[in-house]
């Protein structure tokens, strides 16, 4: 039973992972990746790691939702339903994919993996908590804060260049002729308050 579930979930994880690169929409690709991670999380539950498994599902649901939202926001594909090409650099991607797959398979086959089952009364969640907040706390906290600052910096850097120039300079559309006056409504020379006092100037 467990073996059949493991095989079915593995097949689902691989199939949906492959679909990520075959669908034509960012939203579909994000949620295919989410399905793949949910299958991996359920495999972790089968492996007697309930916290890691269910937390993976929880995290990936949030993460893929945010990712879909940000991709649609930054790539100006308003709905994510418009068909678009989801892959680029084909030759390099194919070579890198094959090399990574071969490397991971070799690592699995050559390493000496533990095979003894987890005892039924093992307090795995408690042990994980002691590990995360004990010896590994510095590593996890450092990595977490580094990742957060990297994400914020990435958004700040990529959001700076707006459609009509730098986003902190106000939006001025380009001219109708090259080098001409900016198109669209002209901003008032005076602000409203000033204008009110010196009306008629």
């Amino acid at each position: 039973m467990t073996d059949a579930l493991f095989l079915a979930l593995s097949a689902l994880a691989i199939w949906s992972g492959w679909r990520v690169f075959r669908v034509d929409s960012m939203v579909r690709a994000s949620f295919q990746l989410m399905v793949s991670f949910i299958a991996v999380g359920l495999i972790a539950v089968l492996l007697a790691a309930p916290y890691i498994g269910i937390a993976t599902i929880f995290m990936m649901a949030v993460e893929m939702m945010v990712m879909a939202l940000f991709m649609v926001m930054f790539m100006m594909n308003p709905a994510g339903l418009n068909p678009m090409m989801m892959v680029h650099q084909h030759r390099f991607a194919v070579a890198a994919g094959i090399a990574a797959f071969a490397g991971l398979v070799l690592a699995v086959l050559l390493s000496d993996l533990p095979a003894q089952p987890v005892p039924a009364d093992a307090q795995v969640v408690r042990a994980l908590g002691h590990e995360l907040l004990g010896p590994s706390m510095l590593i996890f906290e450092t990595a977490g804060v580094t990742l957060l600052s990297a994400m914020i910096s990435a958004v700040v850097l990529s959001a700076h260049s707006g459609r009509y120039g730098g986003s902190d300079e106000g939006s001025r559309p380009p001219g109708l002729q090259p080098g001409g006056e900016p198109a669209g409504r002209k901003p008032d020379r005076h602000d409203g308050h000033h204008h009110h006092h010196h009306g008629g100037h």
Partner: protein
């Protein structure tokens, strides 16, 4: 386990009906008691509508996923000592995963018809639903602290002396905010609002709409049972048997959630977003810090 799952499946339709009746009390929308059944039957007889170039698979599956998430979330609620459908050491995390996937499912429900109003509802809901879910997780962690366990069974047992609603007074009101968000109602209903002609459901009709509404009410039942267990002591209580206490508390939370949805004003999404991030999320941190101080040996 099988007994608990069976009892839940027997009790759920009646509770969903009760939720639909609560939704109609005082609104003047037709018959209060039989109205939901008539409406459901009428929807089942109407055809589903189609839109131009939809994502047909997700559109078909979204209401079913919503219902499935409500059922999975409900399965971690213990009905009596030792009787729970899914006895997990990480029940609170499973409930959190159901919350997170609810945001995804509501988004897909609005995204898949390929139509403007549902799409606006979907994006607005993601912006509001994610912070609401985030703060609910801090509230649930605070409830797990005195129990020293992420299992809902242990969280209920830890309330034998004093219920969490008294020990952590901020917990239940903050968690009710999540309840309004996952059941798409009241001030946090940015998905299916009337100003978007039904939002993510604007293009729906027939059995698909009936199933979506059914799932929405099932999620209200699941949320109420969860809130009753985590904050109101679940099956604990004097005199009556455990499941009866759980039923009474679930119905009470359900009525309170429906009332809160009617009572509180709706705001523009941007203002609600500020309110969630700037006021409610720090309140949930304060709640967690107070509980942490309390359980320090």
């Amino acid at each position: 386990m099988i007994l608990a799952a069976f009892s839940l499946l027997v009790a759920l339709p009646a509770l969903i009906w009760a939720a639909a009746v609560f939704d109609r009390v005082g609104t003047g929308r037709g018959a209060t008691v039989l109205g939901p059944l008539c409406n459901g039957a009428a929807l089942m007889l109407r055809p589903n509508t189609s839109t131009e170039a939809p994502d047909a698979l997700n559109r078909l599956l979204a209401p079913g996923w919503y219902l499935a998430l409500a059922l999975i979330g409900l399965s971690v609620v213990p009905l009596a000592p030792g009787i729970v459908a899914s006895e997990l050491s990480t029940g609170l995390v499973l409930w959190g995963a159901c919350e997170a996937l609810t945001v995804v499912v509501v988004f897909l429900h609005g995204w898949s018809p390929n139509s403007p109003l549902p799409l606006i509802g979907a994006y607005r809901y993601v912006a509001i639903g994610l912070p609401a879910m985030l703060l609910s997780m801090f509230v649930l962690i605070a409830a797990a602290l005195p129990a020293q366990s992420l299992s809902v069974v242990e969280v209920v047992e830890a309330q034998r002396g004093l219920w969490n609603v008294i020990r952590q007074p901020l917990g239940l009101p903050l968690f009710m905010g999540l309840g309004l968000a996952v059941t798409l109602r009241g001030p946090l209903d940015y998905a299916d609002g009337a100003e978007l002609a039904g939002g993510t459901s604007a293009e729906e009709s027939g059995p698909a709409l009936a199933l979506w509404q059914f799932a929405r009410l099932a999620m209200l039942v699941a949320f109420s049972a969860m809130a009753a267990s985590v904050f109101l002591g679940g099956y604990l209580g004097p005199g009556l048997p455990g499941p009866v206490w759980l039923l009474v508390k679930t119905v009470a939370v359900m009525a309170a959630t429906v009332a809160a949805g009617r009572w509180f004003a709706r705001t523009p999404p941007a203002r609600m977003l500020t309110f969630l991030w700037v006021i409610l999320l720090p309140l949930s941190f304060a709640n967690l810090a107070l509980v942490g101080l309390e359980v320090l040996p």
